[in-house]
Amino acid sequence: MSDLLAGLIQNPGMLLIVAGVIVALLPGRQLRAIAALAAIIGCYALLASYGTAPMDAPVLMGESTLFGLDLVSIRIDRLSVVFATLFFIAAGLNAIYGWLHASRMEASMGLIYAGAAIGGVLAGDLLTLFIFWELAALSSVFIVWGGGTHAAFKAGMRYLVIQVGSGMALMAGVALTVAATGETAFTAMSLTAEDGSLNIAALLIFIGFGVKAGFPLLHFWLPDAYPRASAVGAVMLSAFTTKMAIYALARGFPGEDILMLIGAVMAVAFIFFGAAASDLRRVLAYSLNSQLGFMVCGIGIGSELAINGAVAHAFASVIYKGMLFMAMGAVLTRAGTLRAAHLSGLYRAMPLTALVAFIGALTITGVPLFAGFVTKSMTISAAGYYEHMLVWLALIAATVGAVNNIGVRIFHDTFMGARSDAAKVSGDAPLPMLIAMALAAAICLVVGIQPTLLWSMLPFDYDYAAYTMDHLITQMQLILFAVLLFALARRFGLAARPRDGVLLDVDWLYRVPGRIALAGVVRGTAAAWHRLWWGIQAGVARLVKGLYDTHGPEGALARSWPVGFMALFTAVVLGLMLIVTFVAY
């Protein structure tokens, strides 16, 4: 076994990938689900056996050498372990959720995807990270394609292009780093070099991370692809890619100031897109993107509290966002559509799902006793404590936005009110889905009620009390005010439900002008070449024709001449020779 493989295979994520390949070969959905769950539990057991380690004293395992570089397949410290654990939980929930509905490809690729994400967060060096980074892209695109529609296919292509682009940027950055330093260890780096100039290597890596983290302008793949996956697929997608990027940012760029700005923009801007989206999973996707802004902000602030907050929020986000995607998946499974305009009053048919959605809404809006409250307040506190007023404001605004997007749009508009035609469905979500949603909801509640359980897993020991009066009042004021605001707005028709249609985002840039430009360049190049090539061929043909006319059997230069002509010619040549000799002499 090669050194590289021997190193990688110790990574639980890698084992999960292998399990994913095996699962692909198994017959029957149930069997695949059981095998997947078993693999997840087994791999988690392996991870658990590695224990954990403090941030400043990581445990390194699975070492190998490649190109003279030291590769570390596993780094165990609290940051990586918490993300890995989170991903295992998500993978487990996904396996349960998709028990009956995951296709062969989704079951297998979901496992590989989870494995890649777990492998990625455990990776101790940039090259290993790159491998898992790309694997995550590779496996997740199949999940997008699992949507099975032409739209899913095209979105998947776009998704893959941008994801691979992210991986390539990472690779380029790694290559530059390696060439400059000979080091591949994945540690904190800075966008500014020591002499104050821009660190190109770090910038490339930063962009690579940023794509997956959904930085503004680099985010378009997210709301593009997620809504087009299948019910099961979207849940899978929501968990890993972006959180993996959050992990990478937390590891690589903690306290990078620009992240605060980026995070703030993300947190706020995507609220509006979410509000305008008509597909409910699209709403969720934008909301997810907005929530990522919280985490990015936290990482940008860079204090121990802020990092903890970002990680904790990532944890909560995976669970509740997954839960909301599950709920929407259930609706999709039953109702066959997620067009906001067509759905309302679903609670009658799907009460349990409605409950889950409600819990999700409570969590994301940060209602006390739910996970969102404790995790969000950490980041907001960190921002406040350090007087990042702008960030603080943005985060507050994002919370308000979440009230509208999730509380109003996802929960209220979909489940409450008059029952639409599309909402006349046969029953509540299937049992495995319900179980998965219930488990997620339970986690949200447990974390919300007993946050110290999560605290103990966070990277830094920081004594943070979520349930202070200050936090409670601030948060409740915010939520109630926001609900009131939206209620009034709705009453006066200021916030109408979005109609069906394409929501134009940055993706417009590449969908329309970009596509036209690219197609122009491609077609232009190809046409130029073809014209040149035909030109060459035609030129050669003409040349041959011309040569044939002169040199062919009947050509003047090749036919047989009468002897008189030959003699004349000889005489002329002689004359020329004589003239030349006489002149030259």
């Binding site: 059997p553 230069l557 030349v580 002499y585």
Partner: protein, 512 residues
């Protein structure tokens, strides 16, 4: 020279076939003249080999005809001298060698192409032609060159005309060749006359001594006449018009023999005159060399283009010969040891190549009665030995490695790179490459027809060519490969020969 018993060696290559020729005429038609001619060619070949060896070991050999050498104290010999250095020893060996393979080859081809009763005459003419070619090469006397030139030419006209039984165009071709050849020879004689008038000598080495540092209009005019005359015999573009038809309609064996030897001997004469007789001090030499660059390149391309479009393989090969002469001229035109050596090497190698090719075509003509491309379709299935022989020697013509053609091309390119001319060396090399490519096209056409075209459906089954023809042809084909590996004979001898020629041309070493 101090080889006991071999004092008469230089004269033997001329005397043996010359004496043998009339005897041939007395023989009964059939095998006897052929066997006799073959025997003579073999003996001559052995003699030339000995001569080559002697020259290689002992340096240039001089032989005064009838003992009329240079009187003591005088530089010039009185009578005709045979002067053999490495350059002409190489050509001599080549001519005799080719003859010793082509003569045996000729039997079946001649039987089928020539009236049975005429065979003694045919072999007589062949031997006379052989004599003439050897004589031209060996003699050190400028006028004697003319005599031998005409001996070989006259017999050649006759030999070509004998192809008339197959195709009456042989007659017109021969007639045209006769007129042109005579004009060429006459030009040459005029040139010699002018030189004689200017120097009072006909001995080439002595001419060189007399001409050293001298240039006047008489000499210049002589030079012009000689170069034009030899150029005509050489088929130097644009004086090549007679050659294609002559080679095409001649009997196959004659095509093979002439293509491999006649023009090669002329190249030697040009070399001899330019470097050994006129020399570098001759003011016009450089102009001529520059002209040769242009003529060589033009010939390389022009004739190759024509060859590409020819539908008759013999004509194609004839034009190819003209193109190949371009290479030789190019080598000469560099005026360097490497260049002249490359030229001599190509003289040798191209003789092997063209002999093999024409012999192969001869086999096809014997069996299929035509040398048109159509006859070659699917030949690899019908006559595999012939076809593969043609392909290998064709590749050699292109200059594919593992064949002698590659050595020629290599040395020529090497020489070009080392030469400063008014055309940049790289350009010359690229042009050589490009013209090789044209050779690749016409040979490729032939190979494609033989290998990949289907046999015509209405074609009658044919046998392979007789063993004798196949074996002799394959001797040539294998020589094409052998001399790739064994370059001592070509590169070694040619380089030394070129060195000697140029030393003479520069006015030191060499001569006496």
């Amino acid at each position: 020279m101090a080889i006991p018993g071999l004092e008469q060696l230089p004269v033997l290559p001329v005397v043996i076939p010359l004496v043998a020729a009339p005897l041939t005429l007395l023989m009964k038609p059939g095998r006897a003249p052929w066997a006799w001619a073959t025997l003579v060619s073999w003996v001559t070949f052995v003699v030339t080999l000995l001569l080559l060896e002697a020259v290689w070991v002992h340096g240039p050999v001089e032989y005064a005809m009838g003992g009329w050498g240079a009187p003591e104290g005088m530089s010039a010999p009185i009578g005709i001298t045979y002067y053999v250095d490495l350059a002409n020893a190489l050509v001599l060996t080549l001519v005799a060698g080719i003859a010793s393979v082509v003569f045996p080859y000729a039997y079946y081809s001649v039987e089928s192409e020539i009236d049975h009763r005429q065979t003694p005459a045919f072999y007589t003419a062949l031997l006379i032609c052989f004599t003439g070619l050897l004589g031209v090469t060996i003699t050190g006397d400028a006028f004697n060159v003319f005599v031998f030139l005409e001996i070989s030419s006259l017999s050649t006209y006759a030999l070509i005309a004998m192809g008339a039984r197959n195709d009456r165009r042989a007659l017109t071709a021969s007639f045209n060749y006769l007129v042109m050849g005579t004009i060429g020879a006459t030009f040459y004689v005029i040139g010699i006359g002018l030189l004689y008038q200017a120097t009072g000598t006909l001995n080439m080495l002595d001419l060189h001594q007399q001409l050293m540092g001298q240039s006047n209009r008489m000499v210049e005019a002589g030079f012009a006449f000689i170069i034009t005359g030899i150029g005509l015999k050489l088929a130097m573009v644009p004086l090549h018009l007679w050659l294609p038809n002559a080679y095409c309609y001649a009997p196959s064996a004659i095509s093979a023999f002439l293509a491999a030897t006649a023009t090669k001997v002329q190249v030697y004469i040009i070399l001899r005159f330019m470097f050994s007789v006129f020399g570098f001090e001759f003011a016009f030499l450089e102009v001529a060399l520059n002209a040769f660059i242009v003529l060589g390149i033009v010939g390389m391309f022009y004739a190759s283009f024509v060859a590409v479009f020819r539908d008759n393989v013999k004509q194609m090969l004839a034009y190819s010969s003209i193109a190949q002469i371009g290479y030789m001229l190019l080598g000469i035109s560099f005026g360097t040891v490497d260049g002249v050596a490359a030229s001599l090497i190509h003289v040798f190698n191209h003789a092997l190549i063209k002999a093999a090719l024409f012999m192969g075509v001869g086999c096809v003509v014997l069996r299929l009665g035509s040398s048109n491309f159509a006859a070659f379709n699917g030949l690899a299935k019908r006559m595999p030995w012939t076809a593969w022989g043609l392909i290998i020697s064709g590749l050699s013509l292109v200059g594919v490695p593992l064949t002698v053609g590659f050595i020629s091309k290599w040395k020529l390119m090497e020489a070009a790179f080392q030469t400063q001319t008014f055309i940049p060396p790289l350009l010359i090399v690229l042009l050589i490459g490009a013209s090789s490519l044209l050779a690749a096209i016409y040979i490729g056409r032939l190979a494609y027809a033989m290998l990949l075209q289907p046999v015509p459906e209405d074609a009658e089954p044919v046998k392979e060519a007789p063993h004798l023809m196949r074996i002799t042809m394959w001797i040539m084909v294998l020589a094409n490969i052998w001399f790739f590996f064994q370059t001592d004979v070509t590169v070694g001898v040619a380089t030394r020969a070129a060195q000697a020629l140029l030393d003479t041309g520069l006015g030191y070493g060499g001569a006496y």
